[in-house]
Each structure stands twice: as structure tokens, then as C-alpha cells.
Amino acid sequence: MGRMLENHTKTLLYENGLAVPQFKVAASVDEVRQAADELGGKVVLKALVPVGKKGKAGAVKFADGAEEAGEAAAGLLGTTVRFFPVEKILVEQKLEIEQELFVSITLDKMRRCPVVLASTAGGMDVEEIAAQYPEKMRVIPLDPFEGLPEYKCREIWTELGLSGGLLREAASYLYRLYQVFARYEATVLEINPLAVTPEGKVVAAGALMAVDDAAVFRHPELKDYVQLGSERAWRPLTELEKEVVAVNEADPYRGTARYTEMEDGDIGFMCGGGGGSLMVFDTLLSYGGRPANYTEFGGNPPERKVFGLVKTILSKPGVKGLLVDANITNNTQVDLVAQGIVRALKEKGIDPRKFPVVVRLAGVNDAEGRRILAEAGVEYYGEEMSMSQAARRMVEKMREAYGG
């Protein structure tokens, strides 16, 4: 899921004929002041970070005039909103708002269809609307092929009490919003509030959008809006994480390599399989081990992908050991994994006879893998040891080497 920044979302909406407030992006107090001037004085400032519920996080400020805007900006720039540093600010023209609506379209993965949420209690979180004003909210699952026909939009708003010109405006907006959702293969497209102006126009005051990473290849216009791999971190990607994304993308159809840095820890963690890695991480923690990262690999990666991954894992400061622990492979060639590990250890100048390394690998071509690792002096186990036992052995080995 590629979360987009609000300025990018609003640009897309605008390009597709949906009304948004005038806005500018500013990176300094001076730029914010200038933007406020150009936008006519009354502005809204939002920290430009890829997270929702910005108001609750204190990342939205209102200002009247350039001076106030500058002061507000000084209070936002350089802060952190849910782990994201605020480097830029979205400066928007403040709308005159008569009424606040809410609309959200999501790809509901459990229902396997798009779901529309609409409400006349905009401006608050959807959870709050659902809890406090359930009568003011509609939840409509859609047929994946039919999508959202315009008559359904009119039905939704009529049931929620809209009528006259506003009904037509809101229905048309929702209809076109669904077109954007479908066209860009979004997973979420939420407008909150969908502001109703005194002239009876509807405008997207707040917008949140995420698109499907796996579909970006057929929407080249989104390429600069979405950072690949961002769903695998709760903060901006670190340099090492970006390195692994690059290693992975170099061979996009051959195996996977994923890497998420933990705050501390001393065990380089490289586990095979999405499920196996979760299990081993839990197990390692339960024995008192401290993984420095979370990594999974699999799907029969080429040697160079394994090499790049292990090298990155070993590059994190504070890593004092390496655990490679994979499920018995179905297609991953163990000999290639072994070659990648040995080459990375060599490149980092690490002697596995002194630096704790435990490898548990079994499966396709494992006899050759065993030979390669044994020759390099790596402590190796095959299927005779369970994955959990290997995790336990790693913790033991760290204690033997460093005490504690």
C-alpha cells in the first residue's frame, strides 16, 4: 500500500475535475509566509507527512495573514508527526464551510470488494462517527464489476437527508471520486471533510489516498508519488532499508528480500519465508535474543540478491552476530543462499569462527549448501534441528561470545 502525500492526492483530484482548495507547498517559514500572502491571507497549514488524522496529531494549524502563518509554520517545521519529520508544509486557502460531509472508498480485503462509507457528520474520525452518529453514516459494499453507478450515489445521499442542489453536487462528486479510485487502483480514497461552501459547492478540504504498490507499474504518472516499500516501515525508510529496496527491485521477479530496521538489537536477523520469519522473531525474543532488524527472504532469490541483503544486515551499527534461519525450502536453492552469505561475510571481513553466525537452512540443493558453509567455517544445521532450536542456539552463541 503506497500512502500518498496530501498535495499529490489533491493534484490528482484536481486533474480529474474534482474541486480542491488552492494550495502551495512550502519548506521554510519564509516560503509559508509568501504562500499565505498569495493565497489571500486566511490559510490552513498542514504538516506534509504520509499519515492520516493529522488534526488529532496537532499537525494542522489555522492562520490569518502571513505573520500568523509564519509563526504557526515555525511551530510545525522540524517536529515529528507519528515518526515522520515535518520538512514541508501544505499551505491551503481556508474555505468558508457551511457543512461538513465525509466520504471514503476502500478496497475491503475481507469482503473482497470496494466499500463506500458516506456520512453527513464530516470533520470527525470515521470511528467517532460510527460510534456517535451511526444514523448519519452509510456503509455500502459494491460489486467489483459494477462499481459505483451515479444513481447509487444519489440514493446514498438522499438516505442521509441531502436534497436539492446539494444532493446533485454531492452525488456527482462521489461518482467522480469513485472513478479516481478505480482509475488509479487505490486501496483507500478518503475525503474528510468534504466541505460544503456557502455557494453550495462541495470541495475536498482534507484528502487521504493510498494506491496499490503492485499496480503502480501501469500508472507511470504515480511513480513519483509513491515510495516503494513504505508499507513496511512506520517512519521514513532508512538508508539501509532503501538499499534493500534497491537490491530487491534489481531482480523484481526473482525472489524477495525485505529489511526493516529495529531501534536497537545486536543479532542480524535473516529468516526465510514470510511466516517463518514471524515465528523465528517471536522465538528469538522469547529466549532473550535482541534482533537488530526484521528480514525475510524467499521465492528462490539469485545469489546477488542474498549477497546484497546479508551485506546490508551486517552493515547496521551494533550488529554482533548473524542468524540465518529458514523453513525447509520448496523452491529456494539453498546453495545459492549459502554462496550469497559466504560472499557477504568475506566482503565485510567477518570470520564466522569468531563472530557468532548460526545458519539453519534445508531444502533444494542443501547438500551443496552445507558444503559451501562448512568450508567457510559457518555453524550450519539442516532439518535435524528445528527453526526454534536454531534461534535458541543463536542466543546461546551470543552469550558464549559476549557474556551476559
Binding site: F281, Y294, N331
Partner: protein
């Protein structure tokens, strides 16, 4: 017996000429699983390890009796490949491909549901019935008996790799597998565990099931509901991986795309509690699966 595949399954591989698919074809044939035909547009008339290749599914179905499709085509072409299989009356479709655009998956699942075809995956290593020596997909690799020996235990796993590892645990307990299914690591899949347990309930060969679960989705919660409603009455041993993700910031994916806790939902600890309350044996440690299996006193191989 077993579920989904048996000696009567007639397999077609779509995308058979690809590097991975061709290797898997050889492993399937070596194991004794017949592969009737393959399809790769533009490669009609060639062969892969002796399996005839056609340009279209229609041509393959004209020459061979086919009732199952194994899909190995790249992500952008899966939707079309599934429609092609469905249009030719194939009612079991195993989708190996990972990273398929989610809007395509949503549509192909709607189309197959309408046609009454069962989908396993996407993003799976496949399914296997060891007694019939039938497997679809990489599951078991080139040395199938290492993990999969025939027996009375069903295996359901959200992780392809852990399907093999879990079958190995079954073997360690002195038992074997009736059918093992890697359901796929994505949140949107054709056959969630609940539906498969309903099939296992009807299968006389299966006497117990081991399930490997993960964070995210409501798959395990739905299983607990099924158990509570007596929809599955055989012993179920469950292990849920990824408890550590509960201590990480929400909304982050760990491992499979489906493994994500959002809005407080999909926590392993909740899944474990609900399953335990519904009567499942919930393993605290993965290796405990072996002990639980031994305690069940099931017929040894």
C-alpha cells in the same frame, strides 16, 4: 481421499515455459503427478519436459481432459489467465503468482465465485495430497518425502514455506499428511481457512488439522467462530506467528502482505484467545505442535 486434489485431477499449467514453472513441472513429474498440458501464448507446439504446450487453454482442453489449472503467469496477466481457465470450465485454479494488482484479484475472485470455481492463492506455493502423490505448485520442492508423507493430518498455512515446515513437524510426531494447503500470503485469497476446514470436516481420511496463522485479516477469528458453531469437530492445533508485531506501530506490514495489524484488528494474541476459547489446541511455541499431535493418539503411518 484428502481434499481438493486426488488421482482424478487433470492438471494444466498456464505459463509453463517460464523458468520457475518449468522447474516446478519437472519436480511435479518426478513426484509422480501427471501434468496433462501447458499453455504459453506464442509457444504452442513446443514441449516442457515432455508436456505439450498450447497457445490457448481452449486448444489444450480440446486435446486433453483438464479440470485444474496451475497459474504461473506474471502479475499483469493473471486476471486474464484466470478468466481463460474459467471460460473453459476449469473449476480448481491454483494461483502461484505474487504481487498481483489487488483490483485484479478482487475482480478475478468475483468472477470465479460466480462461475463456481475454487481458487487457492494467490501468492501460494500450492497444494499437495501425498497419498495420491499429487501436488500442484512448488510445495515440497524436489524432495517431497522429506516433509510430506501420507497420513491423517490436514495442514492449512498462510505461509508457503511454513506449510512444508509444519508437515515436517507432523512427520516428527510420527504422522503424515492427508492434504496440505498453502492458502496464500495475501489478505485477499480464494479459500480462507474456514472454508478449507469445512472440507476437511467432510474428509474421512483427515482426523486432525494443524493451522499456521499470522497477524492481520480475520481468518483465524472466523475459524474460531466455525469451531464454536460446531462446524468443525475434529481436533485443531493452531499456531499463530508474529506476536511481536503487536508491540510495533500499527499499519506496518511484516512478512506477507496480509500480515498487518490495522485499527486494532488482526492481533495474534486475540486470535489465540478466541481459538482457545472455541476449543482449539493453541501452541505457545511452534515446536509444541509435535507434542500436541502425539497426545492426540492418532494412527501412526
Amino acid at each position: 481421499m484428502g481434499i481438493l486434489i486426488d488421482a482424478g485431477t487433470r492438471i494444466l499449467i498456464q505459463g509453463i515455459t517460464g523458468r520457475e514453472a518449468s522447474m516446478v513441472t519437472r519436480h511435479m513429474l518426478d513426484y509422480g503427478t501427471p501434468v496433462a498440458a501447458g499453455v504459453t501464448p506464442g509457444k504452442g507446439g513446443t514441449e516442457v519436459h515432455g508436456v505439450p504446450v498450447y497457445d490457448t487453454v481452449r486448444q489444450a482442453c480440446r486435446e486433453h481432459e483438464i479440470n485444474a489449472a496451475l497459474i504461473y503467469v506474471p502479475p499483469a496477466f493473471v486476471y486474464d489467465a484466470v478468466l481463460e481457465a474459467v471460460a473453459n470450465g476449469i473449476n480448481l485454479i491454483v494461483i502461484i503468482t505474487e504481487n498481483i494488482p489487488q483490483h485484479d484479484v478482487m475482480k478475478l475472485l468475483a468472477a470465479t465465485k460466480k462461475a463456481g470455481a475454487r481458487v487457492i492463492g494467490p501468492n501460494t506455493t500450492g497444494i499437495i495430497n501425498p497419498r495420491a502423490r499429487m501436488k500442484m505448485g512448488a510445495i515440497g520442492g524436489d524432495n517431497v518425502e522429506r516433509c510430506f508423507v501420507p497420513g491423517c493430518v490436514g495442514v492449512i498455512s498462510r505461509s508457503g514455506g511454513m506449510t512444508a515446515e509444519t508437515a515436517h513437524m507432523v512427520k516428527r510426531a510420527g504422522l503424515g499428511v492427508s492434504t496440505a494447503i498453502a492458502i496464500g500470503g495475501d489478505p485477499m485469497i480464494g479459500s480462507p481457512p474456514r472454508e478449507l476446514l469445512e472440507l476437511f470436516e467432510q474428509d474421512p481420511e483427515t482426523q486432525a488439522v494443524v493451522m499456521f496463522g499470522e497477524p492481520g485479516t480475520t481468518f483465524e477469528e472466523d475459524v474460531a467462530e466455525l469451531l464454536a458453531a460446531k462446524g468443525f469437530t475434529k481436533p485443531l492445533i493452531a499456531y499463530i506467528a508474529g506476536r511481536f508485531t503487536e508491540d510495533m506501530p500499527e499499519g506496518t506490514v511484516f512478512g506477507h502482505a496480509g500480515a498487518i495489524i490495522e485499527g486494532g484488528k488482526g492481533k495474534p494474541s486475540t486470535k489465540m484467545r478466541l481459538l482457545r476459547e472455541a476449543g482449539a489446541y493453541v501452541a505457545e511455541r511452534y515446536d509444541d505442535i509435535v507434542d500436541y499431535l502425539k497426545q492426540l493418539d492418532l494412527p501412526q503411518n
